[in-house]
Each structure stands twice: as structure tokens, then as C-alpha cells.
């Protein structure tokens, strides 16, 4: 039992740390392509200055993503051998396609994208930027196909307790895949939008008046303002999809115990699994019914339906799912308010210069809000799948390795220390790069100009 919970914490720690960086690189790759294409079209140095600044952060995030991704590929074997033994025939090809189609593409062209601007023709550098962005997105596609299949498995049959693939199209386009993929890609877009807006706001606050920063601030804020309504819509549709396929997860997200109509939307509650009820409930009447069925009389599933005859719970742990869901939605609402308020405040000519410093401070405070929302969202959906590893096929408990608990605890502690140090270093380096770029910009107002490389290959 101890091995199970330690292995779960270790996997959660590794994958939580890992997902922070792909979340940035997926969308930042496309933003860099945007900067590069704007530069190609206008010849305006500020776009290239923005490219040079953000490509460094891309490189840093990519490096952290690669090394933490290597850890992930070993975790399956070291801690969860039952996973590949049972569903390897489906998970294997999907993981293989991820490595083959995406990982190499990114890794090989990253070198050209980062260090090649002076060595290759401009078109090849633009192409390399595109291929890296494309590669990260394809990578996300395969991983989300596999993850979605674990939530809504399809296109397989069980022979002697082992999953065998019967229909690859059904496996790839399994019921929750389109929703999860869109939801995650938009999450990545929002994370990057707030990162760019936040760092640009920080650079304004420390006195950087350069036009390049004004440009990236606007890019970030507009991107956020456009994506957040789309994300709310996509999240709603994903929720409806979950209601259809994993009602026990939705019951836990809503903290609803009794199946019925007119279920309130709980703003606060303390779910008590022993007593099978909530304490300190504050809710909006009919809210959950309205959101989930678009009808105040709509039926919302309750957790009490998910108990075995012997009283064992067949639903996920309620409090973590309930609370992560609220953290995600709360962060999303904050993103909506701040991005739209900034867009409204920016209207008119010299928009950015007239922004109230409190608006800039709010944006700076939201720099890593995308991480918070993304992690909370993943906790909701992954803890919400428990006690299953693959819904209805394989329980988490049946897949865990027989490694002594002290050994897992030791390595877990080592990972946690390393991750904490790296996370701290990552955030510090980003702000350090921002300060450095701003002090350079104040010396040379158009710092991009001197560095632009239009020379053909040697």
C-alpha cells in the first residue's frame, strides 16, 4: 500500500514538473514563428529583438522539458511495469510515434533555430522555427491521444487479460481526445500569453520604455484576451464529454453526493468522504444542473451511485478533485477579467504608455498563472480517473512495481530537491534575462538592429 502511494506521488511529481515546460514550448514555438514572420514581412528590428529574447526562454524551457521527459520514459518501467504489460500493445505504438515523429524533429531543428541564424539562409531558419513549433504540437497530439485513451479506451479487445488493438482509428480518435487536445493546446496558448504579458509588464515596471516591450506586451495581452473565451467554451464542452463517459469524475468535481435535478453550483464546500456529505456548503442554486445539462431541472450524477456492494468507493477521492477543479476555474476567471480589463485600458493611441501601474503589476503577478491553471486541470482529470489507471481496464494498484518503499522514498526525495532547485533557478533566470535585456535596451534603444542576420549561408 505504501509502495502504491509513494509511486503515485513520485509519478505525479515527475509529470507535474515535466508538463510545466511543454506547456510553454508548445505555444511559444508558434509565437516565435509569428515574430519571425512579422519580421520577414516588415523588416522591423523590434520583431527580431522579441524573437531573440523569447528564443532564449524557449531554449531553457525546451532543455528542461527534454531532461524531465527522459525521466518519464523510464518511470513506466521502474515504477509501473503493469501498465505496459497490460496495455503495451496500444500505449507502445502511440509512445513510439511520439518519439519518432516529434521528439527528433524538435531536437534536430532546435539547434538550427537557436544557433543557426548566421549559418543558414533566412528561409531555412524560418522553416526550422516552423518545424520546431510543429514538432512540439505533434508531440502533444500523440501524448494526448494516449492520455485520452486511458480515460475513454476504445478500439481494443482483451485476450488473456492483455489489451490487443483492433481498430487504430478508434484508438486515436477515442471519444475524449478532440476535447482534451483542444483544451490542452489552448491552455498552452494562455500560459504563454500570460508569461509574455507578465514579463513584458515587469520590464515596463523596471523602467524599460523600448518599443519592443510595448509590442510584446500587446501581443501577450491580446493573445490572452482572444484565447480565454475560447478556452472557457472548450472547457465546458470537455466537461460535457466527461459527464457522458466518466460521470463519477463529474460527480466529484461538483461535490454532488445524490443523483438528482436542481443541483447547486458549489462555490465552497468541505467534502467528507466518511460521512458521504459536504460541510460548510455555499452554492448557487441550480448552477451545476444548468452548466452540465443547460437546464435547471437537469439530472446531475451523484457519488452515492458509485459504491461497490461491500461499500468500497468506485469514485475518485472527492476533495482533491473538487478543489483542483475550483482552482482551475478560479484562475481562468481571473485570466478573463485581467486580460479584458487590460485590453479595454489599452484602447486608443499611445495605449501601453497610459496603462496604470497597477494594471502592469496585476499582469506581472499573473506571469505564471497558466502553470497554476494547467496543473490544477491535470490534477482534476487524472485524480478524477482513480481508482483506474485505464478506465474500466486496469486499476492503478494492479500496475505498480514491487520496489521497496524506502527506495522509492529516497529517490522521490532526491527528485523533489532537484526539481525545487531547478524551478527556482528557472524563474530567477527568466527575470534576470528580462532585467538584462531591459538594461541593454536602455543603452541601445534598438538592440535588435545590430544582431539581425540576413547573410546567406557561408
Amino acid at each position: 500500500m505504501e509502495e502504491l502511494i509513494l509511486s503515485r506521488i513520485q509519478f505525479a511529481a515527475n509529470i507535474s514538473f515535466h508538463i510545466l515546460f511543454p506547456t510553454i514550448t508548445i505555444a511559444l514555438g508558434w509565437v516565435l514563428l509569428f515574430f519571425k514572420l512579422r519580421f520577414n514581412a516588415t523588416g522591423d528590428d523590434r520583431w527580431m529583438a522579441a524573437y531573440h529574447f523569447w528564443v532564449k526562454i524557449f531554449a531553457l524551457s525546451f532543455g528542461l522539458g527534454v531532461v524531465s521527459g527522459i525521466t518519464m520514459s523510464f518511470q513506466f518501467g521502474t515504477n509501473w511495469p503493469g501498465f505496459m504489460e497490460t496495455v503495451g500493445n496500444v500505449a507502445g505504438p502511440l509512445l513510439a510515434y511520439e518519439v519518432l515523429t516529434a521528439f527528433f524533429l524538435e531536437a534536430a531543428f532546435l539547434g538550427i533555430m537557436l544557433f543557426g541564424a548566421r549559418r543558414v539562409p533566412n528561409w531555412l531558419h524560418t522553416l526550422a522555427t516552423f518545424l520546431v513549433a510543429f514538432g512540439t504540437t505533434i508531440s502533444a497530439f500523440w501524448i494526448l491521444v494516449l492520455n485520452s485513451w486511458m480515460h475513454t479506451p476504445a478500439g481494443f479487445e482483451l485476450r488473456d487479460g492483455v489489451v490487443h488493438a483492433t481498430d487504430w482509428m478508434a484508438i486515436i480518435f477515442n471519444p475524449s481526445m478532440p476535447y482534451r487536445l483542444v483544451h490542452m493546446l489552448l491552455a498552452s496558448g494562455l500560459t504563454v500569453a500570460f508569461l509574455i504579458a507578465g514579463i513584458s509588464a515587469y520590464r515596463r515596471l523596471i523602467g524599460d520604455r523600448s518599443k519592443g516591450v510595448r509590442l510584446t506586451l500587446k501581443t501577450g495581452v491580446w493573445l490572452a484576451a482572444i484565447l480565454i473565451p475560447l478556452q472557457i467554451l472548450a472547457g465546458d464542452m470537455h466537461g460535457l464529454n466527461t459527464l457522458e463517459h466518466q460521470p463519477q469524475k463529474v460527480a466529484a468535481m461538483e461535490g454532488n453526493w445524490e443523483t438528482g435535478s436542481n443541483v447547486p453550483l458549489l462555490l465552497f464546500a468541505w467534502p467528507d468522504e466518511e460521512a458521504r456529505e459536504n460541510r460548510f456548503e455555499i452554492g448557487i442554486p441550480d448552477g451545476a444542473s444548468l452548466i452540465l445539462t443547460h437546464d435547471p431541472e437537469g439530472i446531475v450524477p451523484g457519488l452515492n451511485d458509485f459504491y461497490a456492494e461491500d461499500g468500497a468507493a468506485l469514485h475518485p477521492p472527492v476533495a482533491p478533485v473538487f478543489w483542483s477543479f475550483r482552482v482551475m476555474v478560479g484562475t481562468g476567471v481571473l485570466m478573463l477579467l485581467i486580460s479584458w480589463a487590460t485590453v479595454i485600458a489599452m484602447r486608443g493611441g499611445s495605449a501601453v504608455d497610459r496603462l496604470n501601474p497597477w494594471v502592469l503589476r496585476a499582469l506581472a503577478a499573473m506571469t505564471f498563472s497558466g502553470w497554476l491553471a494547467t496543473l490544477a486541470g491535470w490534477y482534476t482529470t487524472e485524480i478524477g480517473r482513480q481508482p483506474w489507471l485505464v478506465q474500466g481496464v486496469l486499476t492503478t494498484e494492479a500496475a505498480v512495481a514491487d520496489v521497496p518503499a524506502p527506495m522509492i522514498a529516497t529517490t522521490l526525495a532526491a527528485y523533489l530537491i532537484v526539481y525545487a532547485v531547478l524551478l527556482l533557478a528557472y524563474v530567477m533566470v527568466i527575470f534576470r534575462l528580462a532585467r538584462k535585456a531591459s538594461s541593454d535596451a536602455s543603452v541601445r534603444p534598438h538592440s535588435g538592429a545590430a544582431q539581425v542576420a540576413l547573410v546567406p549561408a557561408e
Binding site: 531573440h52 528564443v55 532564449k56 531554449a59 531553457l60 525546451f62 532543455g63 528542461l64 527534454v66 531532461v67 524531465s68 527522459i70 525521466t71 520514459s73 523510464f74 513506466f76 518501467g77 521502474t78 511495469p81 505496459m84 504489460e85 503495451g88 500493445n89 500505449a91 507502445g92 505504438p93 509512445l95 513510439a96 518519439v99 519518432l100 521528439f103 527528433f104 531536437a107 534536430a108 539547434g111 538550427i112 537557436l114 544557433f115 541564424a117 548566421r118 549559418r119 543558414v120 492483455v162 488493438a165 512495481a401 514491487d402 520496489v403 527506495m407 529517490t411 532526491a414 527528485y415 532537484v418 531547478l422 533557478a425 533566470v429 534576470r432 534575462l433 544582431q451 539581425v452 549561408a457
Partner: protein, 336 residues
């Protein structure tokens, strides 16, 4: 699918070959950049930057071959993946933390100066060292059949030291290609010193594997395989001789022959690897699990193979492109 006979036979074999190629490519490519990490403390400040620049555009892609190798083990031989990695739980964790440290140190050191940069340099060295040592240790334990006894652990320590020397050696030969002037002279001296470690390492593994396994002994020392296999040790001896001579005479005029040590080392790694592969076939977990027993279902392997056959030439294509773009002596690494 029946083109080559029973798919339950040839598919696992094809995947074992693919996995073998990935491991070999990984050992050569990440071997040289881990090796440069091991040599880093030996250079002065300016040389350190140059050394890092010599591997900068490559290390991401080099490490991806490890992901591919482990990925193929994971997807094609899931039972073996579980058995091997749970047996090597601690060294795997040490290696991963080492790889994490050096990967991020590479990025972080480029973005700082002064004392912080010195610290990241040390992190880069420490990460390279622990990754190399743990890989060597795992190789030793694997040869010893994944048993944990005093003798197998001692052998693991020996292979750990020897593989680390081997990585340092191939790193030095890479620097001979990518550097010039004083740094190149240093790299030649580093390579000369580490050649002994390589020879001892190859000898130790070659002696130990037939001694611990009767099966391997019979595979090598029986007629006619003894004659058919004779080219392997003879070629290795020839390569060692070439390395010896080359390192004695380098640097040559106009930087001629600077590519010889690295190429010869890669060929030497290929020889060593072929010997190991021959010894262990058909086992994927030594003496316990053959690749046929641990393979995934043929229909799943076939799907992966289709993708791999399409994608591998492309991967090789753009790997060549990347190495062509960044050919020549390493210059200052700049993000533009």
C-alpha cells in the same frame, strides 16, 4: 506480413536490431558530449566556453537517441523493460538526475556570469560524471545477469570507471575535430591519457562475459565460431593501434587527419557493441528472458515498424543536415 516468414520471429528480431542501433548511436553521440562534460574542469574559462560550443547544437538531439532506445525497449519488449528497469532502479535514478543536471546546467550557464556560472559549470561536470558512471555500472550489472552480489557490484564499479574513461576519450577525440590551437593540443593529451582506460575496459568486459556465462563461453570458444568471430578482436586491435599512432602524431599540418581518432573510436565502439550483442542474443534479460518471449503482439509491432521505416531515413537526413550546418571548428555560441 508473412513475407519474411513468421512475424512472431522476424518482428522481434527487427526491433532488437533497431534498438541495438539506437543504443549504439546514443553511446557514440551522447558519449562524446558526456565526455566533453567530463573534461570541462580541465579547460580554462575561455576554453570552457569553446568546449561547450563544440557540443551546443547537438546535445538535445543526441539525448533523444536514449529516449528512442528506451522507448523501443518499452514498446517492443515491455516485459523486459519492466524487469531490467526495476532491477536497476537506483542507478537509473542517479543517471536521470545526472542527465537533468547537465541538461539544464548547459542552458543556465549560458545565461549567467561569474560565481553562478562557475557553479553551473560544476553542475554540468557532476551531471556528466554521474550519468556516465551510472550507465557504466548498469552495463556491468547487465552483463552479470542483473544479480546483486559483492562480485557483480565490484564488476559494475569497474565498468563504471571504464565507460567513463571511454566517454572522456571519445569526448577528447570530438574536441580534436572541433577545436584548434592550444585547446586542440590539450584535447590530444587528454585522449592519450584515456586510451589506457578504454583498453582496460574492453579487456575486462571481453574476459568477464565468457567467464560468468557458460553459454557465452560456448558461443565464442567453439568451432567454427571462433574462426568466424576472429575478425572482431583483430579489428579492435587494429583500431587501437590506429588510435595509438594517430594520437602520437597529431596535430598534423593544415589540421589533416584530425577526424581520424573520433572515427576510429566510433568504429571501436561498434566492434565492442557487436561483440556484446552476439554474446547476449537471443536474450534481452540475460539468461532469463529472450526477445521472443518478451515481445509485444505482432500486430502492434508491425504498426510501429511501418512508422519507424518511414521516419528513420528522415531522422537520419536531418541529423546529417544539423551536423553539416554546424560543421567546422566550434565558434562562439550565440542565440542568433
Amino acid at each position: 506480413m508473412t513475407l519474411f516468414g513468421d512475424p512472431a520471429v522476424w518482428l522481434p528480431l527487427a526491433f532488437a536490431a533497431l534498438m541495438g542501433v539506437s543504443i549504439l548511436v546514443y553511446v557514440v553521440l551522447d558519449g562524446f558530449d558526456l565526455g566533453v562534460g567530463l573534461l570541462l574542469p580541465l579547460g580554462d574559462e575561455a576554453e570552457k566556453d569553446r568546449m561547450i560550443a563544440a557540443i551546443g547544437p547537438f546535445w538535445d538531439a543526441n539525448e533523444t537517441w536514449l529516449v528512442l532506445a528506451v522507448g523501443l525497449l518499452l514498446v517492443a519488449f515491455p516485459a523486459a523493460h519492466g524487469a531490467i528497469l526495476t532491477a536497476l532502479y537506483l542507478p537509473v535514478a542517479v543517471m536521470l538526475i545526472g542527465l537533468i543536471l547537465r541538461g539544464v546546467a548547459f542552458e543556465f550557464r549560458a545565461k549567467t556570469t561569474g560565481r553562478m556560472k562557475t557553479r553551473w559549470n560544476w553542475a554540468f561536470f557532476a551531471g556528466s560524471l554521474s550519468a556516465s558512471l551510472s550507465q557504466g555500472y548498469m552495463l556491468g550489472l547487465y552483463i552479470m545477469g542483473l544479480e546483486h552480489t559483492a562480485a557483480t557490484i565490484a564488476f559494475g564499479v569497474l565498468t563504471a570507471v571504464c565507460l567513463t574513461a571511454g566517454y572522456g576519450f571519445i569526448g577528447a577525440t570530438w574536441l580534436i575535430i572541433k577545436s584548434e590551437g592550444a585547446l586542440q593540443l590539450k584535447a590530444i593529451a587528454w585522449a592519450r591519457r584515456r586510451l589506457w582506460g578504454v583498453i582496460i575496459g574492453l579487456g575486462a568486459v571481453s574476459l568477464a562475459s565468457p567467464l560468468v556465462s557458460e553459454r557465452i563461453f560456448d558461443k565464442w570458444f567453439s568451432f567454427p565460431s571462433m574462426i568466424l568471430l576472429a575478425p572482431l578482436p583483430l579489428m579492435s586491435a587494429l583500431l587501437v593501434f590506429i588510435l595509438w599512432t594517430a594520437l602520437k602524431h597529431l596535430p598534423a599540418e593544415d589540421d589533416k587527419w584530425s577526424w581520424v581518432p573520433f572515427s576510429a573510436t566510433s568504429a571501436l565502439f561498434l566492434m565492442a557493441f557487436s561483440g556484446l550483442a552476439y554474446s547476449f542474443y537471443p536474450y534481452v534479460v540475460p539468461e532469463k528472458l529472450t526477445l521472443y518471449e518478451s515481445a509485444s503482439a505482432p500486430e502492434s509491432l508491425f504498426i510501429i515498424l511501418l512508422g519507424a521505416l518511414f521516419v528513420l531515413p528522415v531522422i537520419i537526413g536531418y541529423t546529417v543536415l544539423a551536423y553539416t550546418v554546424f560543421r567546422g571548428k566550434a565558434t562562439e555560441l550565440r542565440y542568433d
